[in-house]
C-alpha cells in the first residue's frame, strides 16, 4: 500500500495513541505530541506507541502532512489554526450528540482532496448527525 504523508497526532490520552498505533502499523511515520514537553511522553511512547516519535506540538505539526487532533474539546483553543492551514486535519474532537458509539457516518460523494477547515462549520463542533452532514457538504461547497 502506498502511504502518503507524515502524521502528527496531538493528544496522548484515550484516542491519540490508538490512532497513532494503527497509523504506524499501516506504515505512516508518526510524531506524537501533547501541549507539553515530549520528554514527558517518552515512556508512554516507548511502551504504548512504539515506533512513534515524541515531539513538541509545533515541530510535529510543521513537519506533518496530516494532523490528528485528539484533545478534549475545551483544549481546542490551545491550537493555533494558522499552523494547520495547509494540512489535512483529522478532527477527533467534534462530538455527534445523537449518535451512539463509533459507527461511521456515510457522507456520500465529496470532491477529492477536500479538507475540513479549522474555523469552518464542522471543525471541533458539537453537532447532531443531520447537522454534521449539512456542515460537511457546506464545507465542501466553499472550497470550489
Amino acid at each position: 500500500m502506498q502511504n502518503e504523508g507524515r502524521l502528527a497526532v496531538l493528544g496522548a490520552g484515550h484516542v491519540g495513541p490508538v490512532i497513532a498505533r494503527l497509523a504506524i502499523r499501516a506504515g505512516y511515520p508518526v510524531a506524537i505530541a501533547t501541549s507539553g514537553d515530549p520528554d514527558d511522553i517518552a515512556l508512554i511512547t516507548e511502551l504504548v506507541i512504539p515506533g512513534a516519535e515524541p515531539r513538541w506540538a509545533s515541530d510535529a505539526v510543521a513537519d506533518a502532512d496530516i494532523v490528528v487532533l485528539a484533545i478534549p474539546l475545551h483544549r481546542l483553543t490551545d491550537v493555533d489554526p494558522a499552523l494547520l492551514a495547509d494540512k489535512v486535519v483529522v478532527d477527533a474532537v467534534a462530538e455527534l450528540t445523537d449518535r451512539i458509539g463509533y459507527d461511521p457516518v456515510r457522507l456520500g460523494g465529496l470532491p477529492a482532496g477536500r479538507v475540513l477547515q479549522p474555523g469552518g462549520p464542522v471543525f471541533g463542533q458539537v453537532l447532531t448527525v443531520p447537522e454534521f452532514e449539512r456542515a460537511v457538504h457546506q464545507d465542501a461547497r466553499s472550497l470550489r
Partner: protein
Amino acid sequence: MTLTYTFGLDTFGDRESRADGTPLSHAQTIRNVVEEGVFAEQAGVDFFGIGEHHTDYFPMPAGDVALAAIAARTEKIRLGSAVTVLSSDDPVRVFQRYSTLNAVSGGRAEVILGRGSSIESFPLFGYDLADYEELFDEKATLFAELLKGSPVTWEGKTRAALLSQDVVPHLESGPFPAWIGVGGNPQSVIRAARLGFSLALAIIGGPPARFAAYSELFGRALEKFGQPSRPVLVHSPGHVAATDEQAKAEFWPAWRGVIALVAEERGFAIPTEASFDRETGPDGALYVGSPETVASKIAANVRALGATRFDLKYGLPGLTHDQLMTTIELYGQQVVPRVRELLG
C-alpha cells in the same frame, strides 16, 4: 519470588430486583449490599469495594456509610471505595471519611480514586466538565499529601489552601492502601506512578491482555519517579453460577439493559449476542460462567497483566439478591481457591 494474590468483589449498589423482575427500593438495595459485604467475608473474599454512583439504577453515592455497617459486622475483610469520584468531592473530606472507616474497622480501609467515568456528580455538585482533568490532578496530588499524615501544606485552584494544617483523625498505623482507577488513558497511569498510588485497571470490554503495556508502563514510571514498587489490580464485571449456560442466561438481559441505559451518554455500542459471546469468551473482559470458566480466565489475565489483585464487579441492575449471593459464595468458595491453585 512468591507473589501474594488477593481477590475482591466490587459493587456499584446496582439496584436489585425481586424474582418477578420488579425493582427493590433504593433503601432495600443498600441493606442488601451490606448483607452481601458481610457474606463476602464468610465466603472467604479478601476485599469488598463500593463504587460511588448517583443514579436510580446505581443508588449508592455514600458507600462509605455502607462500608462502616459492614465493618461493624466483620473482622478481616478489607473494605474500600471502588471508586471514590475524587474530582467532585473534597479530598480532605474523603481522607477524613476513610481514616474514620480505617479506625472503625481496625485498619481495614482502602480507597480507589477515580475521575468519574460517570459524570452525574459534576452538575450535581456544581462542577464544570471543562475542569475534568485539572480537578482530578490537583485533588489526587492533595490526597497523596494527606496520606503522608499531618501537618499538611498545599495550595491550588480547586479548593482552599492548607498551611501546616492538622487534618484529623490521624492514621493509626500509617497510610491505608490508595489506588488510582485507570480506564485506558496512559497519562493517568503516569500520574498514578508519579504520586505513588497503586494502579487499578478497570477493564470492561475488549481483550484484557492489551492492558499489559499499561502495567509495564506503570512499573517503569514508578522506577523513573523513584517510587517504591506498587501493586496492580484488575477490576472487571462478572457473574458466577453452576454452569456457563445459567450464568450467561442470567447476566445477558441485565447487561444489555444497563449498557443501553448508559450508551447515550458514554457512546458505548449496544451489545449483541455475538458481542456478548466474544466478551464472555477467553479473549473478552466479562467473567461470566461456571466457577471453573471464571477461575481459568482470572488466572490467565492476572498473569498476563502482572496483577496481584483481582476484583470482580458483581451484580447488575435487575439481578436478584439470591443470584448475587450465589455469585459471592461460588466466587469465594470455588473460584478464588481454584485461581490460587492455577497461579501456583
